[in-house]
């Protein structure tokens, strides 16, 4: 019987690889939702749920990139600054230089991706630790973002841009939420079903084994940092649409929120295990928690304390479960 149960466990693990290690966070999310349902009569409603989705778009898009980075055993501290830089490039091109949005957005994303390219090359070609390389990029990108307008915010995007974050198509999805969902699905499918995605697990598990197995570890590493920066840039587009303005101080410490979401979702900081499924749950936990605490009128300072507590809880519960 015991052997049979073990077999089932193994099969279960294999069938839901993207949720592997994320069952704990999923239970946590459900418990949290049940608690908030009773604590606040405003929590359980379609409208509030859609609000939560709107609020997590920026974090959600960014956290997908961070998941890839952490999966290969890296870290990307630059995403918050890269997001601000992409936003300022967008504002400069569209508002100051008159470049149409259809061209300004891809250019802003390109600038964002270049940050990741530089970080990736520093890490692979010059053996700079990821922490240091992205710490440097964080400072550089933030500085550049500020230089564009000397620290000023920019307003005056075309009217349709803001509606992307406001108008709910079919009474349900804003375009920005749709973008996030597409990124989630692409990320999920990529990690589960693509050659390149599976290779990332091998790299994070043991880079030397992966290299000897004929996986191009350096190329994959550079690509992962490029994608992380690209998604940071994309989250910047989402935030610009939501705010209908851009300012260079946006996204300060967002990288830490993204790391928190990934870690709460069960992806190991040492790499090799985890996935987008867990990260989605992690993002939802942070989103629901913030939303619920707002509904309960908990002060923003207290919210920071509580979110810190949740990170500790999630990670210790996971380590405890693994040890057992």
């Amino acid at each position: 019987m015991a052997a049979l149960a073990k077999t089932h466990d193994v099969v279960g693990r294999r069938m839901l690889p993207s949720l592997r290690g994320a069952t704990g966070p999923l239970i946590g999310l459900i418990v949290l939702c049940v608690f908030l349902t009773f604590a606040s009569d405003k929590f359980l409603s379609v409208r509030n749920f859609l609000n939560v989705l709107d609020q997590i778009t920026v974090l959600g898009v960014m956290a997908v990139g961070m998941t890839l980075v952490i999966l290969i055993g890296g870290i990307d501290l630059a995403v918050g600054s890269v997001m601000a830089l992409a936003m300022m490039v967008l504002g400069y091109l569209n508002i100051m230089a008159g470049v149409p949005m259809w061209l300004a957005i891809p250019l802003a994303l390109l600038v964002a991706s270049l940050n990741g390219l530089v970080a990736g090359l520093l890490i692979t070609r010059f053996n700079v630790p990821a922490f240091i390389a992205t710490l440097a990029m964080m400072s550089i990108a933030r500085g550049l973002a500020n230089m564009i307008t000397d620290g000023q915010q920019l307003i005056g995007f075309p009217a349709w841009f803001n509606t992307m974050a406001i108008v709910r198509f079919g009474g349900f999805l804003t375009l920005t939420v749709a973008v996030m969902l597409v990124i989630f699905i692409v990320g999920l499918l990529y990690l589960r079903y693509r050659h390149g995605g599976r290779s990332l697990y091998a790299i994070g598990g043991n880079a030397e084994v992966a290299r000897l197995a004929g996986i191009n570890v350096n190329r994959a590493t550079v690509l992962v940092y490029v994608v992380s920066s690209l998604l940071a840039g994309l989250s910047g587009m989402v935030l610009a649409a939501r705010l209908d303005s851009v300012q260079p101080s946006s996204g300060v410490s967002y990288e830490l929120d993204a790391i928190a979401a990934v870690v709460i979702g069960g992806t190991s900081l040492s790499g090799g295990t985890g996935g987008i499924g867990g990260t989605i749950i992690g993002v939802l936990i942070i989103g629901v928690l913030r939303n619920g605490l707002n509904l309960l009128s908990v002060s923003p300072f207290m919210q920071q304390v509580i979110i810190g507590g949740v990170i500790v809880l999630a990670v210790t519960a996971e380590t405890y479960r693994k040890r057992k």
Partner: protein
Amino acid sequence: MTTRSPILSLRGIQKSYGPIKVLHGVDLDIYPGEVVALLGENGAGKSTLSNIISGTVQPSAGDMTWLGKSYTPTDPRAAMDEGVGMIHQELKLLPKLSIAENVFVGRYPMKAGRIDRKAMEDRARRGLHRLGLDISPDRLVEGLSTGKQQLIEIAKALTLNARLLILDEPTAALGGEETQLLFQQIERLRTEGVGIIYISHRLEEIRQIADRIVVMRDGAKVQEFDSGDVPIRTIVEAMVGRSLERMFPALPTPTDEVTLEVRSLSSPSNAFRDINFFVRKGEVFGIAGLMGAGRTELVRAITGADPISGGEVLLRGKAITPRSPIEAIRNGIVLVPEDRKLQGVVLDHSIAENIGYANLGEIAASGWLSSRRIQQFAEDYIRKFGVKGRGGQNASELSGGNQQKVVLAKWLARKPQVVVLDEPTRGIDVGARSSIYDLIMDLARQGVAVIVVSSDLEEVLGVSSRIMVMAKGKQSGILNREDANDVSVMELATI
């Protein structure tokens, strides 16, 4: 010598790890002012014995007497306080600290609650002088030659008033001049009455330095010579001895067709130089040598894992010198690396995934794959190789032998032309070894050119049609199966 009493006496020292006995009652006396060479093959028990003396490991049975008193060190610190200094093969100095700080790390001389830097430097300087080293104790360790660092380790032990020094392969990383400098200092310490246990694989130097030779084999002292001047052949015969014959499968007959050829291959780090050999289709080619002879570096270079600075690798007459594992794999040259756990498998990933990682291109011809496809792909190989485990099981749950089969399976799915196995049975128990040997012979029978690197003499002799012996980064000879035996290989390995 007999009139003096020994510094250290060992009587009936035994050591077991679980059911495995690694030392079977060793007796040993070390007198002041003598250099005792401790010799034996890898795994003979030399390191365990020296670890017991230096307090790193506790014996399971037996008595030790130090200067007439019972001696039971519980940790290296206790041994050091008694006066036993152990100099490890890999140096344990802190590069960013000064020499003086390194000498006293963990036991800085104190004065009024502060570190007495002056006393520290004075004492370190005296220690350095005693070894004839004219270096300032203020200098950082970083940038000093390996030989100098070795001497600083010795100075450290002396400053702590060591009466007995254990040197574990001190010359392994030293050049000729540095070796001579070290020997002069050892000579000096001998006249001062320090007892020295000298472990080395370089038999030539034993003659120069040793007063006595103790040979160990399979955890026991097998022979003792009361002089250092013993013919190498005699020592080697004592080291190798006769042990139980192991069963090796019959060797297939290689074809005349040359699959792999290596021409004057050299490494940028000088780990190996000017290596030339070829391997035929269906041949098992052995590479023997002592630790540090450059065998692993050589085969890693051939499989693209390490860089090559000169020479070329030819596959069926075509130069393909690989610059990365990817290039080697594309040409059908694959490596089963020496350290399974660090280089062969991802331990916390499943067997199926581990097999899959080397074959993602084939499993996902279109770029798309699923866990089920990986699982199905892997199941075939798990069955074919008799891996005792299920595809979903983590590699860490497998025995060493089964992990090795997983590493082999992941490569054989790619139908390679050259398979290189580095220490294929290290850490694998005897029963499982024969199934690995069977797999090797199957490969050869299918026309694969196989290279086996092994420190286990019997193994190399048992599986190879020809054996190349390496010593200090150079090839010292290639022996045909008829001419190869333990003595001829060991002679070439200790040149």
